[in-house]
Amino acid sequence: MTSEAGTHAAKAEGGTRFRRVLGRPETPALAFLILLVVAFSVLSDTFLSVTNLESILISVAVLGVIALAVNQVVLCGEIDISTGSMLGLCAVAGGAVATSVGGFVLPLLAAVAVGALCGAINGTLVTLGRIPSIIVTLGMLYALRGVILLVTGGTWITALPNDSRVLGMGNVLGLSVPVMILLGLFLVMEVVGRHSTWGRNVYAVGGNRRAARFAGLPTDRVRFLAFVLVGVFVGVASMIYMGRAGSVQTNTGTGLELQVVAAVVIGGTSISGGRGSSLASLTGAILIGVILNGLVLVGVPGIWQQAVLGALILLAVTTDVVRRRLLGDAA
């Protein structure tokens, strides 16, 4: 509900307005992002250039697109850690279609279909099977990686035709396609989250599932659709990945699942559900991209990336606690 707070703040006096802004889930991450952009701009001459900023957005497109969908699952009070293997499987499906028929429409459809199917399996097991989502998606993380190895026999998909790589490499009106997809899907999710019935139900189910059920909301369907959405977005992301990489390896997406959850949480969406926004997950993904990019430009060796990412997650969630205590746990 905090995501709507801004709209009522127009006439409020300064102090309340400040509290409202502070109360928004993505505020700490956004502030931190601005701080970092300023710091890196001062430390490195090349950081604040259009090319570099665009390359950061391109580099987080895959992560960001998946984070936007996983954000909805987390808002429902569930979690999805199967996205790494799912991305691999979608890329394999898309890659196989791309090498046989070419173009980008059919491969995209194939990847999205495979993703949606995986998401539907996750959703069914969580809702009908009543298995905790962390276990379902952990099992799927293993099982889907196994499926990838089974269908590919361990070989890479190479020699992808160029017209199949448009979603990862293309440029339309001077803006790169991955960035357009990321920002486009972000806008869609913001609208869905604010104005669609399902989007509002997600907050209700995550905020208090029992209350949502008693209020007559279809809690199972809401959660099921969130898992399917993850599959669909992973399918789209896999085409961006494939376009950028130019080949599909069997280890595609390994370890991505935790980065996605990290992006969502760093952005400010609460892991216990009900609180957060699409802007939060986008901010989290970009924050990760800015840090990895900035560290390279400042000259920090690549081997420190993991440690910095970890420290960042802890810093972000600690900031969130401090903020909530400042607001008296109200937000």
Partner: protein, 319 residues
């Protein structure tokens, strides 16, 4: 009708018996698939590979019973491993280096517990952060280098045989099982662990020292991870920053397969040990039977899902 529900009731009270049945069935199938499988030598050697996961799973059982989770165990193992290897390479006598490693492991677990108890953060988020942090530190501090010139006696922890054919680490594992089992089932601390998992609020009002218990179990798993790290480092004779990758998922799978509920409140040491052994036998048996490792991942994933589904199914029929 009543006979059927009666049978079901008896089944639910012996989840461990079901697991034992699965284990025996598995052993029979594997023996048929490969003549090498059911030999004392092979069975004992298999234990070399599951002791590390097993030690961590013991600690993870307590954490999952309280309704928590620890994703950082694999990374902590890497951190302890390089802490031992690199302080040794820097000139510290090996016994002191091992001691230092144990301290690092406990400190890492304590670090987790501080965030979880005093900041009241969700364990999933905290240990996701330290998962990356510990791994990153192990990587960064060592410059992605490896140390492997350990003195011959260090091999004792991970490669020695006792009484002819028993791997040394198996004895450490058995001792750890007994100790953790005693703590969980015979002490008030163990009752606190279950109480927190069943209803943390109620436990707080009943005077359970929740913070102290949580600090103890997260630090405790740090110690178990550190012991596993010593065994691991000794077994492969190498300390490197990227060891232990993905181990956390093996550990959690074993505990959940063993019947612990991820929602907290239930789980036993016997179940966990059976879970660890079943996964190890499955991996070893499939390997000996010549099944490609690709199938192993798939089977492991499906097995985990089926086990948890059955578990939750029985749990619901109990309610």
């Amino acid at each position: 009708m009543s006979a059927a529900t009666g049978a079901l009731k008896r089944l639910r009270f012996s989840r461990e018996l079901v697991l034992l049945g699965i284990l025996i069935a598995l052993v029979i199938v594997m023996s048929l698939l490969s003549p090498l499988f059911f030999t004392l030598g092979n069975l004992l050697n298999t234990s070399r590979y599951f002791v590390e996961v097993g030690l961590m799973a013991l600690g993870m059982t307590l954490i999952i019973i309280t309704g928590g989770i620890d994703l950082s165990v694999g990374s902590n193992l890497a951190l302890v491993s390089v802490a031992i290897g690199f302080t040794f390479a820097a000139g510290l006598p090996l016994p002191l280096a091992i001691l230092f490693g144990l301290v690092v492991g406990v400190a890492a677990g304590f670090f987790n517990s501080v965030f979880i108890t005093f900041l009241e953060l969700h364990p999933l988020v905290v240990t996701l952060g330290t998962f990356a942090l510990f791994q990153g530190l192990a990587y960064g501090l060592t410059g992605a280098q490896a140390v492997s010139n350990f003195p011959p006696w260090f091999a004792y922890f991970g490669q020695a045989y006792l009484l002819g054919a028993v791997p040394g680490q198996l004895i450490i594992f058995v001792a750890a099982i007994v100790i953790v089992w005693l703590i969980l089932s015979r002490t008030s601390f163990g009752r606190y662990v279950y109480a927190i998992g069943n209803n943390e609020e109620a436990a707080r009002f009943s005077g359970v020292p929740i913070r102290r218990v949580k600090v103890a179990i997260y630090s405790g798993i740090g110690l178990l991870v550190a012991i596993a790290a010593v065994i691991y480092t000794s077994r492969v004779s190498t300390a490197r920053g990227d060891v232990g990758l993905g181990l956390e998922l093996d550990v959690i799978s074993a505990v959940v397969l063993g019947g612990a509920s991820i929602y907290g409140g239930s789980g036993t040491i016997a179940g966990t040990v059976l879970g660890v052994v079943i996964i190890a036998i499955l991996r070893n048996g499939l390997l000996l039977a010549g099944v490609p490792s690709t199938w192993q991942l798939f089977i492991l994933g499906v097995l985990l899902l089926v086990a948890v589904f059955l578990n939750e199914f029985f749990r619901r029929s109990e309610e």
